[in-house]
C-alpha cells in the first residue's frame, strides 16, 4: 500500500520528464504546468505516505519490498524500496522543496528560450532524488546517485552559452566523479565481501561479524568519498560555488536543499557501516569543511556565493554531527537546513530577479522597502541559520553542538574538543556572514540607484513559495517527533530480534549533560556574530574595508577561497601534464643516459682489458644497450594513436596474462 504510493511518487516525475522533454515545447505554456502539478501531486502523496508512516509512531517502522532484478549464477541481485521514517521525511522534504521551486521557477525562468527543457530537467532531478531516498540497496543508490549528478550537470550548465556555466557544469561533473569512483569501489568492495547490495543484508553481515576490521573501515571511507563529492565536503567542495552559475531556483533545490544533502543522507542511511576510525575521519572532514567554508563566506561579495559557502559550511556541520555520533542531530539539521537554505536561495533569487540578474551585493542595499515579502522571509531564514532561538535552525544546530560536546566529554580527547570548539566558533562566523549579507542587501542606502529604482517585488508564484518555506522554517524545529522517530541505527538492530531491546537503552545518554552548556554557548556566539555584523554593516561603526586592508594577506587568502582552485590547477591538472613530461624526460635523459653511460664506461673498461675480453664484454653491453634502447623506442612507439595497435597490444597483454596465470596454477 505505502509502497505503491512511493512507487508513484518516484515514477510520476519520470513520466512528466518524458512527456516534457519530447513534447514540452508543443504543450500550452510550454508545459510548465505539467511538472509543477505533478510535483504538487507528489507532495500530496508524500504527505499521505508520511501520515501513514508517522501514524504508526514507531521508530522501527520499516517496509522493504524488493524483486529479483539480475540473476547471475548463484548470486541474485535484488532491487527494491525501503521505506522507514527517514525515507518518509526525505520524501516530504524533497517533494516540498521541489514543488515550491517548480512554482518559483515559473516566475523566475519566464521567457527563457529553453523554458520547457528546464522543467523537464527539474522533473528528471526530482525523479532521481526521490528514487535515491527510497531504494534499499547500494547499487540502486549509486544509479540514482549518478542520475542526480547528471541532472545537476544539465542544470548547472543550463545556460551553456555562458562559458562560465558550461565550465562550472564540467567542473561539478568531474569533481563529483572523483568521489563517485571511490564510492563505486566501496560498493564493489562491499559486494565482493557480502555478495549482496541490499542494505539490510549488508548490515546483517556486519552485525554478525562476517564483515569487519580494516576492510570495513576502508569500505566505509570509500562510501563516504561519494558523500564528500556530492555534499561538497573538503577537499572536493570546489565545485559547489561554481555550480551557482545555474539558475537560482536550481541552486535552491539541488545545490542547497536536496542533492547536496544526499551525501548526508547516504552517510545516515549506511551509518552502521562506519567504524570508529571512519567516524573520526568523517567528523574531522565535516568540521574542516564547516570552518573553511564559513571563513570564505565572510568575504564574498556575490550573494549566491555567500549562500553557496554557507551551504558547504552547513553540510560540514551535518557531516560532523554524524561523525561525532549525533545521528539524529545531523539528519535533523538536514531537514531544517533544507527549509531555510531553500528559502534563502529563493529569496536571493527573488532579489536577483528584482535586480535584473545582478548578484553583486555591492550593487544592492536598502532593498527592504522594495521587496517587503522577500525581506521578511529572508530575515527569518537568516535568523534561523544563525541560530537565533525559537527558529528551527536553532534547535538543530544546537543539537549538533550538543552532540559534539557530548562526544568530547565522553571520550575526553583533544580531537573531539577541538571539533566542538571549531564548530561553535563557526556558528559565530555563520551568524556574522549571514547578517552581513542581509545588511548589505536589504539595509543601508541603495548603492546602485538605477537598479534600485527598477526593482520591484516578485510575482506571487515567487512569493508564495517564500512564504511557505518561511512557515516551515519557523515551525520546523518544534516537537520532539524527529528525535523520537529517527533513531540512530545500531548494529544490534540488524542482528537477531532478542538483542534489540538492549541496544535501545544504550543509545543516547551522554548528550543530555552537554546540552545546556552547548545551548548557552551557541546562543552567545550567535548573538556575538550578529552584533559584530551589525557593528560593521548596519551601524557602520567600523569599516570593513579598513579591516580588510589591515589584514590584507588574510583577506586575500580568504578572497581567493584558500587558493583551492589554484591548488588543484597546480596539482591535479598540471600534475598530470607534469607527470607525463617527467616520464618523457626520464625516458630521454635517465634511461638513455644510463645506457650511454654504461656503454661509455664499459668501453673504457674494455679498452683497459685485452682485445678478447673487449669483444665479449663489448658485445654483451651493446646487446644490453640495444635491448634497452629498443625497449625505450618501442615504448615510445606504443602511443601511436592507432586503434588497431591498441587492440593488438591489449590482446597481447591478455594472452600474456593468461599464460602467466596458467603458469602459476
Amino acid at each position: 500500500m505505502i509502497v505503491d504510493y512511493v512507487v508513484w511518487i518516484i515514477l510520476l516525475p519520470l513520466i512528466s520528464f518524458t512527456i516534457q522533454i519530447f513534447f514540452g515545447k508543443r504543450l500550452p505554456r510550454q508545459g510548465d504546468w505539467l511538472p509543477t502539478s505533478v510535483m504538487f501531486v507528489d507532495l500530496l502523496l508524500a504527505l499521505i505516505v508520511a501520515g501513514k508512516v508517522f501514524s504508526a509512531y514507531d521508530p522501527d517502522f520499516r517496509i522493504a519490498r524488493s524483486f529479483e532484478w539480475v540473476v547471475l549464477g548463484t548470486t541474485t541481485i535484488k532491487f527494491g524500496l525501503l521505506i522507514d521514517n527517514l525515507t518518509a521525511v526525505m520524501l516530504f522534504i524533497v517533494t516540498l522543496v521541489s514543488s515550491l521551486v517548480h512554482l518559483f521557477s515559473i516566475g523566475y525562468m519566464h521567457g527563457d528560450p529553453r523554458y520547457s527543457r528546464y522543467f523537464a530537467y527539474l522533473s528528471l532531478f526530482s525523479f532521481s532524488m526521490l528514487g535515491l531516498v527510497s531504494v534499499d540497496n547500494f547499487l540502486g543508490i549509486y544509479m540514482f546517485w549518478e542520475l542526480v549528478g547528471v541532472s545537476s550537470f544539465l542544470l548547472i550548465g543550463f545556460w551553456f552559452e555562458k562559458h562560465s556555466a558550461s565550465n562550472a557544469a564540467k567542473k561539478a561533473f568531474l569533481v563529483n566523479r572523483v568521489g563517485d569512483v571511490g564510492m563505486f569501489i566501496g560498493i564493489l568492495l562491499i559486494f565482493a565481501i557480502t555478495h549482496t547490495f541490499n542494505f539490510d543484508e549488508v548490515f546483517g553481515k556486519i552485525a554478525s561479524g562476517e564483515f569487519a576490521g580494516a576492510l570495513l573501515t576502508a569500505a566505509g571511507i570509500l562510501i563516504f568519498c561519494g558523500a564528500v563529492g556530492k555534499s561538497a565536503q573538503f577537499p572536493l567542495h570546489v565545485w559547489l560555488p561554481d555550480a551557482m552559475e545555474g539558475p537560482t531556483p536550481v541552486s535552491a533545490l539541488i545545490h542547497a536543499a536536496t542533492m547536496v544533502a544526499a551525501g548526508v543522507y547516504l552517510v545516515g542511511r549506511t551509518f552502521v557501516l562506519y567504524t570508529e576510525t571512519a567516524l573520526l575521519i568523517i567528523a574531522g572532514i565535516g568540521t574542516i569543511t564547516a570552518f573553511i567554508a564559513a571563513t570564505i563566506a565572510v568575504v564574498q561579495m556575490d550573494i549566491k556565493k555567500v549562500l553557496a559557502y554557507s551551504t558547504i559550511s552547513q553540510l560540514g556541520y551535518m557531516i560532523a554531527a554524524l561523525g561525532v555520533g549525533g545521528y539524529n542531530a545531523g539528519l535533523f539539521h538536514l531537514m531544517t537546513h533544507a527549509f531555510f537554505k531553500a528559502l534563502l536561495f529563493l529569496g536571493a533569487g527573488s532579489v536577483i530577479h528584482a535586480m535584473h540578474h545582478e548578484q553583486d551585493m555591492r550593487q544592492m542595499g536598502g532593498l527592504r522597502h522594495k521587496l517587503p515579502i522577500t525581506f521578511v522571509t529572508f530575515l527569518i531564514a537568516t535568523m534561523a541559520i544563525s541560530g537565533v532561538p525559537g527558529l528551527s535552525g536553532f534547535f538543530s544546530k544546537d543539537a549538533i553542538l550538543a552532540a559534539a560536546l557530548g562526544k568530547a566529554m565522553e571520550t575526553g580527547t583533544l580531537y573531539h574538543y577541538l571539533i566542538f570548539a571549531t564548530l561553535i566558533f563557526t556558528a559565530g562566523l555563520t551568524a556574522f556572514y549571514m547578517f552581513r549579507a542581509l545588511f548589505l542587501t536589504f539595509y543601508g542606502t541603495p548603492r546602485n540607484q538605477e537598479k534600485y529604482d527598477h526593482a520591484h517585488e516578485s510575482p506571487s508564484t515567487m512569493t508564495i513559495p517564500l512564504i511557505a518555506l518561511a512557515l516551515f522554517t519557523v515551525i520546523g524545529g518544534y516537537g520532539s517527533w524527529f528525535e523520537e522517530l529517527i533513531r540512530k541505527p545500531s548494529l544490534a538492530m540488524f542482528s537477531t530480534g532478542a538483542a534489540q531491546e538492549a541496544a535501545h537503552a544504550a543509545a543516547e545518554g551522554a548528550a543530555h549533560g552537554a546540552h545546556t552548556i552547548a545551548m548557552v554557548l551557541s546562543i552567545l556566539f550567535a548573538f556575538a556574530g550578529i552584533f559584530i555584523a551589525a557593528l560593521y554593516y548596519y551601524w557602520n561603526k567600523y569599516s570593513a574595508e579598513a579591516v580588510s586592508e589591515k589584514f590584507a594577506a588574510l583577506y586575500r587568502f580568504l578572497w581567493n577561497k584558500w587558493y583551492f582552485d589554484e591548488l588543484y590547477q597546480a596539482t591535479a591538472v598540471r600534475g598530470t601534464l607534469l607527470l607525463s613530461r617527467a616520464m618523457g624526460w626520464f625516458d630521454l635523459k635517465v634511461i638513455d643516459g644510463i645506457v650511454n653511460g654504461t656503454a661509455r664506461m664499459t668501453t673504457l673498461l674494455s679498452f683497459g682489458s685485452g682485445t678478447t675480453d673487449n669483444r665479449v664484454v663489448d658485445g654483451l653491453v651493446n646487446w644490453v644497450a640495444r635491448i634497452v634502447g629498443w625497449f625505450g623506442a618501442t615504448l615510445r612507439e606504443i602511443q601511436t594513436g592507432k586503434v588497431q595497435a591498441y587492440i593488438l597490444m591489449a590482446l597481447g597483454a591478455f594472452i600474456l596474462l593468461y599464460v602467466i596465470q596458467l603458469a602459476m596454477v
Partner: protein, 103 residues
C-alpha cells in the same frame, strides 16, 4: 576423427573469431575492419547456437544470436555511415591515417 560434436563447432568458431580479429587488427581500410567485426560476431553466434543445441537445450542461445544479428545490422549501418563521413573529411578510410586524436 571423432563424430562431429560440440567441440568441432567451438573450434570452428574460434578459428573464425581469430580470422575476424586478424582482419580487425591488420587491415588498413575501415570497411574491412568492419567486415572483421561482422565475422567475429558470427563466430560468437556459432557458439551461442552450438551451446543452445548441445548444452542448454532450450532456445536461449538462438534468441541471443537473433538479437546479435539484429544489433550487428544496426551497428554495420551506423559504422558505415561513420566511415563515409570520415572519408568525406579525410578523403581516406585508412585507419592508420585516422589518428588525428593522437597527441
Amino acid at each position: 576423427m571423432m563424430a562431429v560434436g560440440l567441440h568441432h563447432f567451438l573450434v570452428l568458431s574460434a578459428l573464425l573469431f581469430v580470422l575476424g580479429l586478424l582482419a580487425v587488427i591488420t587491415k588498413k581500410n575501415a570497411v574491412t575492419v568492419l567486415m572483421g567485426i561482422e565475422l567475429i560476431l558470427n563466430a560468437a553466434n556459432i557458439n551461442f547456437i552450438a551451446f543452445s543445441r548441445y548444452v542448454d537445450t532450450d532456445l536461449d542461445g538462438q534468441l541471443f544470436a537473433l538479437f546479435v544479428i539484429i544489433t550487428a545490422a544496426a551497428a554495420a549501418a551506423v559504422a558505415l555511415a561513420i566511415v563515409l563521413n570520415i572519408y568525406k573529411q579525410m578523403r581516406s578510410v585508412n585507419l592508420d591515417e585516422a589518428d588525428t586524436l593522437a597527441g
